[in-house]
Symmetry: C2
Subunit: 314 residues, 2 copies
DNA sequence: CACGCCCATCCAAAAACCGCATCGGTCCAT
DNA sequence: ATGGACCGATGCGGTTTTTGGATGGGCGTG
């Protein structure tokens, strides 16, 4: 008693049948193109028409023509089928790592010089890899790497997590940031001793542990004791204080790109000469297929970064 | 030995299953939403993954997560599904005549006044009906109606074809086009006798049969014989000759919208007072669903057109 | 008027799909 | 540490759907 059960939605197979029939205007040839015989093709088109509630093809035993609605639906069907193919293609490209998105965490300081260089000069080697940037301090990056909020972090050591793989991507020297009028500007370069008992805008141990500990260690090893007048965590804030004449600051070379008026820079001789290190870190079990292509961008070749290393000093 | 036979293309049902699973991140709930049980849903998603050659969902026995490729494919799948719905909707709207395209033939003269009024004032009543315009003379329109190149024609009688339905949509009077300096401009209105033995730019019998025969008949009935100095088929060409002072012309009122410098118009009293008739014609068996809505625009209500008529004078 | 072409329909066989029962793995509470 | 709850995958039998061959019927052609 119940008639044939029409699904409430059409299927792509029906669309393909319809497009073939609409283009051939001949059920036999259309069926051949679809690698099937004519009766099932007729049936599929009938099904499609029933689902839509619309006659798409006007067929006599002699001719097949598109109805006005069929003309419109033909365009729509072609668009849908094109979209399915491009969707499959795009998805496969993501899966193979040819294209994709990498979410990258970075510290403010690495954003001054290393990151722009990376994006401008290297990213062209992988034009289909989109890099989504998130600025956060190193500790946040480690947390975000664990939760998967970022794929890769650009951060400062120590990175004491066994589930991470790390790569040293850059190391740089320190420079003194001095206000105009500071006598030490007469020297071409400074030594740590030049900061003994002099006012210094220092890194805060909480928000900038890495720089704080590194400078602290360097001064102690050189038996130098600067007068710490302020402790901040953001380089640009420190330079603002320097500009106000509150004291000097010791910052990574990359900070020179900040260009504060009335603040000048002089290299600071240290041992080792490039104590400021930047590492990339990512979870070894990160399954983002674009990761490989992105890491390829990081590998230094003739750049100013030191040799790669999978071992991390603690 | 041979494994299960995967189709080479995915189906919309698999897309719907995947979207449900990706949104619920839970196969059981997704299956419930799809009105089926969990095992077939698992299979559909496996099938989809095999067809794409891409893992879309990372599933342990405890959690379900999207892979990066799955995230991309989810967006694409949603887009495809949205498109299928809008395609069905648009097609149904075409089929019911709520929307659609009418290809309309029109004569040059009807384009001066009647057609702009129709499109500007009436078309807003059927905003989803698109009117594609094709200018052609009446004979061409009849031919195009038969071959289906146009759905409706705006043309001059006679329309002696049994397969057409016709409707008088406008009738108008005649005006004299006179060059500056013509003595007859002193009169507020002219009679046909004012053209006796005067130079007249006439319609050509080939290209403008309707106007030629009508004027010819009017003059003969009034026993008036103008001096025909030129015969043209395009009104704007005739007015250009009038402007050059070659003679007067008798044209439909609508031609006054042409605004030639140094050409002025005066009404011409005729019997009947509105001898210039414009008809709409269409094939009775035209299956364009938008036809009904378009014809609704044509029906005069308080307009200047005469009453509708299915009978056509010959 | 007979023939050929072409789409629709009928029917049996094949394929696909679904639901049930169940397995194996993980997490959680005890 | 262990038992139970939860969850997705898998095996299997029954049902629905689809397919292809044969056939029917309408229409144009010679």
């Amino acid at each position: 008693m119940t008639g044939p059960s029409f699904g409430s939605q059409f299927e792509l197979h029906q669309l393909r049948c319809f497009v073939a029939a609409a283009e051939e205007l001949h059920f036999g040839r259309a069926a051949a193109r679809m690698n099937m015989t004519q009766p099932p093709l007729s049936r599929q088109i009938q099904l499609l028409e029933h689902v839509l509630g619309v006659k798409l093809l006007d067929r006599t035993s002699r001719t097949v023509k598109l109805t006005p609605a069929g003309r419109v639906f033909l365009l729509e069907a072609r668009r849908i089928l094109r979209l399915t193919e491009s969707a499959a293609l795009a998805t496969r490209r993501i899966a193979t790592g040819e294209a994709g998105t990498i979410t990258l965490g970075f510290t403010a300081a690495s954003g001054y010089s290393f990151l722009p260089r990376l994006l401008l000069q290297r990213a062209s080697a992988a034009p289909n890899i989109h890099v989504a940037l998130k600025e956060m301090v190193s500790a946040e990056q480690i947390e975000s790497l664990l939760t998967g909020r970022i794929d890769v972090g650009l951060l400062r050591p120590p990175i004491a997590r066994s589930e991470f793989t790390t790569l040293k991507v850059a190391s740089e020297g320190l420079v003194a940031a001095l206000p105009v009028g500071d006598g030490r500007l007469a020297q071409a370069s400074l030594s740590l001793a030049d900061f003994d008992d002099a006012p210094l805008v220092m890194y805060a141990p909480e928000g900038a542990r890495y720089f704080h500990d590194m400078l602290d260690g360097l001064f102690k090893a050189a038996r130098v004791t600067p007068r710490v007048v302020q402790s901040l965590s953001q380089i640009h804030s420190m330079l603002a204080l320097v500009r106000a004449g509150i004291g000097a600051a010791v910052v990574p070379e990359a900070a020179m790109s900040l260009h504060f008026d009335d603040v000048h820079f002089r290299p600071v001789v240290t041992d080792p000469p490039h104590p400021v290190e930047l590492y990339a870190a990512w979870r070894a079990d990160n399954d983002n297929p674009a990761l490989g292509a992105f890491l390829g961008l990081l590998h230094p070749e003739g750049g100013d970064a030191a040799a790669a290393s999978d071992e991390m000093p603690d």
